[in-house]
Subunit: 452 residues, 2 copies
């Protein structure tokens, strides 16, 4: 028979089993952390009606959307988890209780040009808190605590949560009487790291018609740095000149004030006035998260406060705050940077049982006992040489191998080999369970991510 | 602004938060059980190249496939998890270790005619064990143990795992010299429950040209029943007349023999000679699982042994055995039959903290302490009336509410209300943690599914 050469589409991540286990560890950490902060899991369809999904208009994204006909229906694959959330909240408004806190880890689709490290199918891991009409600033203050918990649970220490406030920015530009140009200015300022201060200044003056004095003021402003307290103090000098600015400064102060109560170390947090986030709909606190040893990667967890989640679907005012992790890209980068802990268990099982007798009853009973104790077991009964069976455990990194022959069965013991140390014990089944569990607890130590 | 009416496509399940929590409980049970039996998690793309996905040809399914162009590419959404597995194993053959045991819980797509209880996007939960060249019969014997563990972990008792063997069937038809007609005969026999013995007999004789004697023999054969041992004994009478039959009987006996060692109660298992499974590629043991109180639903977990997983992609002989649960449909049915345990916790948090002071530091620290102890916490700082906040906890089913006012902070205690009993305690933070954890352990008891 002629064979079709199997292949996976380019831009679609498909992991080998050991890598997949690492990905599962990360997802499990995210799920657990989100749950601890009172977010409920949500799952929405991958496919939506195009007119619903694209109600806002897609802009830059629209070209990348996977859109197609099926029968009479014009369908699209979701390109983020925010639009489906907006639809969900508007549609199920009467069945939800606000503030509504949800997390969602799901695949989204964007037909980007294929290149290394870019994906067309990728996981986003989002959390959002949605208020009905209004939403307390404390929700914005809690987000950095969640980001901190996520990345430190994954094993990272050298990361920084960067926070700014759009009201501070918009207020500042109002003070300079540049409100109408503020979006263009922020877009330019966003390139500071890439093109440098001189070019930013040139674009501001030549392309956007900002005066030299204002350009200088803008660059001075976004370069304000130091500790969070220092930045807040510097901002005090603008106070009293614009209501929006003052409100933003108050919010930013509240967020900073909560940090120590939330237990976030000073070094993992900064107020960065250069951050604006491209999206137009952020209206308050905005967040980015950078890996300090890999600034070239950009932000690995971003988001902010918005005033109107679902304005395309409902008259209801639904303010919210949310963050998103581009999980597939993050996983790719961690692998690429050799930051995934190679010592974390990735085996499909904790124990491989090799029955050495014709009658398998005792082996099966032992497997059942182990499983009842939460130990993951494979029974290996293939007709292969002993050496091949040991090599199977070895290749997969299965930490314990149990041999069960007539002698052991008669003596009421179990021969169990620790594959790492080579140590072999002959103990009763219950004692073997105890030994393996203790050993596994030791193995399981260590985070998913290792730093440099 | 004109609003777009939000809607979710028909045939696409979108759950409210409490239902979603129930679904998560089920998925978590599946993941845990699969892992205990040494299956490794796998995740493959939802989109595949059409020529790869449809290498086998789709038959009945082909019309239902979501297939579309994106740029030059002819793409399709996966319609099951088996074809992607075949592709995966063929593609990554050199990186895998055999026997390869994987589980996958993922969404698949079929553009079926929309009707109640039928879904176009639905989860399948699959496990497969793939051998390289050959695969021991013990793997087939272990599958009923896994099915038993899954459904009993979910809380079901009144279910039955039905097993048959294709070699027994094919051997039997060879004995009757009906090998060429066997596929058509099995398809007809499969309708026995729906159309009755008389009509089956009529079709066999009139449409398929089976002799009256053979039709009688076939009906007698598939009606053999009683205990597994009884059925095996009845089958002994056909022994020695066909090699394939003898081999199948030997396999079936091995599977039955393992049952008690695997701890499967007699009442949850039966040998059912009427089961053939429609798919052509099953070659050995086949499985179905029925809910005894809801036979009308049909099988909720099916599968079998096949000889050639990936014959369209590779010359390698890759025999395997697998089962699949149509999770979305199962969930829908369980809900429809009111079998989902309404008492299982579905709240987004275990504790709602209501800070009663301007300064939130103590409330935040308490939240952190609770979270460090694995307790899911929401801080509720919205500007709302006390009554509204209590109602928030009540609506969401959050079991504990904590009030933290100046008095409590001064006294170093925490006021904590059990929302179910109304009992309120004032204890130190550590004692409150202890009390809540004990209470939650009690709440968490009970399975996902309740029977009649």
């Amino acid at each position: 028979m002629a064979k079709m050469t199997p292949r996976t589409l380019s831009g679609f991540m498909e992991l080998l089993p050991a890598q997949q286990q690492q990905m599962e560890h990360i997802m499990e950490t995210l799920r657990k952390t989100y749950a601890l902060y009172g977010f409920t899991p949500l799952d929405t369809p991958v496919i939506e009606s195009s007119e619903v999904l694209l109600a806002k208009g897609g802009g830059e994204t629209e070209k990348q959307i996977y859109r197609f006909q099926k029968g009479d229906a014009d369908l699209s694959l979701r390109f983020d988890l925010t639009v489906p959330l907006a639809k969900y909240v508007a549609l199920h408004y009467n069945d939800l209780t606000f503030p509504f806190r949800r997390y969602q880890i799901g695949k989204v689709y964007r037909g980007e040009r294929a290149q290394r490290g870019r994906f067309r199918e990728f996981y986003q891991a989002d959390i959002d808190i949605i208020g009905d009409g209004k939403l307390s600033i404390l929700n914005e203050a809690e987000i950095p605590a969640i980001i901190y918990k996520i990345f430190s649970s994954l094993g990272l220490k050298r990361f920084q949560i960067c926070v700014n406030n759009r009201k501070v920015l918009n207020g500042f530009y109002a003070i300079l009487q540049l409100t109408e140009k503020s979006t263009d200015i922020m877009r330019t300022v966003d390139k500071l790291d890439k093109i440098g201060a001189e070019k930013v200044s040139a674009i501001l003056q030549n392309d956007l018609g900002v005066s030299e004095a204002s350009a200088l003021e803008i660059l001075r402003f976004i370069n304000i740095n130091g500790s969070s307290q220092d930045v807040l103090s510097s901002l005090e000098s603008y106070k009293g000149r614009n209501e929006l600015f003052d409100q933003g400064l108050e919010e930013l102060s509240t967020v900073v004030r909560s940090l120590s109560a939330f237990g976030i170390p000073e070094e993992n947090f900064t107020v960065d006035l250069a951050i604006a986030r491209g999206l137009d709909y952020y209206t308050g606190t905005v967040y980015e998260t950078v890996l300090l040893d890999h600034p070239e990667i950009g932000s690995v967890c971003s988001g902010g406060r918005y005033d109107n989640l679902a304005e395309y679907y409902t008259d209801k005012q639904l303010p919210g705050v949310g963050i998103s992790i581009g999980l597939t890209r993050l996983f790719y980068i961690l692998g690429d940077q050799k930051m995934l802990n190679p010592n974390l268990p990735t085996a499909p099982a904790d124990v491989l049982i090799l029955p050495m007798t014709e009658d398998l009853s005792d082996a099966i009973k032992l497997a059942t006992l182990l499983r009842e104790n939460g130990i993951r077991v494979q029974l290996h009964c293939e007709n292969k040489k002993f050496k091949q069976k040991i090599s199977y455990a070895d290749k997969l990194g299965i930490p314990y191998v149990i041999f069960l022959g007539d002698d052991e069965i008669k003596a009421g013991v179990v021969a169990c080999k620790d594959m790492k140390t080579g140590e072999q014990t002959k103990l009763e089944a219950a004692a073997t369970v105890y030994r393996i569990k203790a050993g596994l607890d030791n193995l399981a130590q260590g985070p998913v991510i290792l730093e440099g």
